[in-house]
Amino acid sequence: MLATSPAFKQNAADAMADVGLQKALARTRPQFPARRAAAVAALPEFERLREIGKQIKDHTLAHLDFYLETFAANVERAGGQVHWASTAEDARAAVLAICQRVGARTVTKGKSMISEELEINAHLLEHGIEPIETDLGEYILQLRSEPPSHIIAPAFHLNREDWEASFRKAHTDLPADRVFHERRDILTEARSRLRQKFLAADVGITGANFLIAETGSSVIVTNEGNGDLTQTLPRVHIVLASIEKMVPTLEDTTSLLRLLARSATGQDFSVYTTFSTGPRRADDLDGPAEYHVVLVDNGRSAMVGTEFQDMLRCIRCAACMNHCPVYGTVGGHSYGAVYPGPMGSVLTPMLIGVDKGGHLPNASTFCGKCESVCPMKIPLPNMMRHWREKEFERHLSPVAVRQGLAVWAWFARRPAMYRFATRVGAFTLGMLGRKRGKFTSLPLAGGWTAGRDLPAPEGETFFARYARAQRAGRA
């Protein structure tokens, strides 16, 4: 997809004026946090499991080279093939080469964010191979030529009328006047349409939630069963997975699985958690004859050993965006990148460069909710702060921001002046705003007050109040 991250501000303004999107956001926004909270409350060990999950991933990353090599050896032992891809281009070439070798005409796909990142679909189409998205949400997005707006609920931004319109437009062989009484009717139409595609496909491409070194297995987690049909029915199964999906053992995997669904959809466990190991065995009655894993780096290895290494713990549950006030206001497309929300704001500058993606880490109120719900305890706000520093160091931030920070820094280095200036400021604003208790517009703060009111200070600074409380406490 074409990254529109540099236009985040305009995208966000458009999103807030988009009636359909706001309707979808209003519907979805409260659901994810409520479901997660219920699932977490039902498992008393959840907090301890978070710490264990973090340790498992930290251990894996500290020995990532060893585990990748062990994984590759075990995939080969089970009769599969591993293709190492440093760049997106390498990965696309590996996938295309397999598809061309087996003479593939159609390729079914399970939901995979790495496939979005690699832009596999466009590449296959260019070479005359038809990719078919089979996840319900991804399917309608493919019909509409839209990117996903959420990493686990890709089409949550659409409303029922959008689904109906898209299906009528795409499925022209069905009666034009058919009625969709319920959501179920939409689902049923997609089910029968895609069932034919599953059966006809030559190659199935899935992502992976985990790669297991111990067994050489790839793991997918779905609710629809589309990923399983994708990887079971065609002659060839290709797994696309980035290197940080690595986990040492089955026991490590099950510990992470206890966190994943609860953090993502608020389910105790997803409907289908499937472990794939090599191609079909001699006496198997079904399954693919070939099993390939494309191990994708595309910028990950450069994060190892840096202040961004913790991001490689991410298991793509989407809890951070589900709880983010910014995401909940502007939706996923505003971020203009493959990965939206807080995790995307950290990952995107890494993937497309801080010059293009550097604006995203500013799209945060630093409320810290993302970190507090992250099952892998990734310090997302801290890493966004690192990006802001890099943006500043590289003189990529706007002049007004730089000058404002310079003025603030001058005062911050002179505590007496700082206290004096804030005292004057707080007093003046306190006097001016005493009557209404808030400001609806302020000079130099138009960008802030355009979207919300500024509460008027009560006339006293924090320093003064703190000092008074301390004195009172001692007395």
Binding site: L136, L187, E224, L295, Q309
Partner: protein
């Protein structure tokens, strides 16, 4: 090319060369021992409660179940379920000895075909390798006797499970798999928790996305200690 580039970049990031042999040995020992982590207390309960927890979680995940006292009661229970759901009496069945040995002659109206599932199958009968009480999850490895397509293609998936095969946690089920099938996993191991579903349309849950619309477990009470 890419392999060396990726491994080299990781090692540079970790500020070391290839992992020293003593450390590699320790990691290989960890892989061989595959230690367990915290197992939630919810499934560490006496057998009857474990079975009850399994059935409760099945129901929570929109699956259904029926308990039968012995294997020979399975054909009747199956016929009863199919009739109650208004389903055809024809089904594809896993070529597993535990299913093949059931007294099918007692129900001559049931028509079964052994093997993998085909697209036209409306009902499938699978042999359950294990049940996991923790979340009401079925472990269904894809072996020659238990083809994976039986878990996926039909509208109604029925799984015959022995109560003695209900364990507490995922780890318990994987231990059974390691012990009985070997250290190399079967090509496919599915953990199935309820029937297929999607919430992609307006964030509203609908059952029966691409996999089975119904999941029914016939539980054979072969475990005296599990009868509560």
């Amino acid at each position: 090319m890419s392999r060396q580039a990726i491994l080299g970049a990781i090692q540079r990031g970790l500020r070391r060369g290839p992992l020293p042999e003593d450390q590699a040995m320790a990691l290989r020992a960890r892989l061989a021992a595959h230690p367990r982590h915290l197992i939630p207390a919810r499934s560490r309960v006496p057998r009857p409660e474990q079975v009850a927890l399994f059935l409760r979680n099945l129901e929570k995940e929109f699956a259904t179940s029926a308990r039968v006292p012995a294997p020979e009661d399975v054909p009747a229970a199956l016929a009863e379920y199919l009739a109650a759901q208004n389903l055809p009496s024809e089904f594809a069945m896993a070529p597993h000895p535990a299913l093949q040995s059931l007294p099918w002659d007692s129900r001559p109206l049931l028509r079964r075909r052994e093997g993998r599932a085909e697209a036209s199958d409306l009902v499938t009968v699978q042999h359950g390798f294990a049940g996991i009480a923790e979340t009401g999850t079925l472990m269904l490895p894809g072996l020659a006797q238990t083809p994976t397509t039986l878990n996926l293609l039909a509208d109604s998936a029925i799984v015959v499970l022995h109560a003695s095969r209900i364990v507490g946690a995922y780890e318990d089920a994987f231990d059974l798999l390691r012990a009985e099938v070997g250290p190399m996993l079967p090509r496919n191991v599915m953990l199935v928790t309820g029937p297929s579903r999607s919430a992609d349309i307006e964030s509203t849950l609908e059952l029966g996305a691409h996999g089975p619309r119904r999941l029914h477990v016939l539980l054979i009470d072969d475990d005296a200690s599990a009868l509560g």
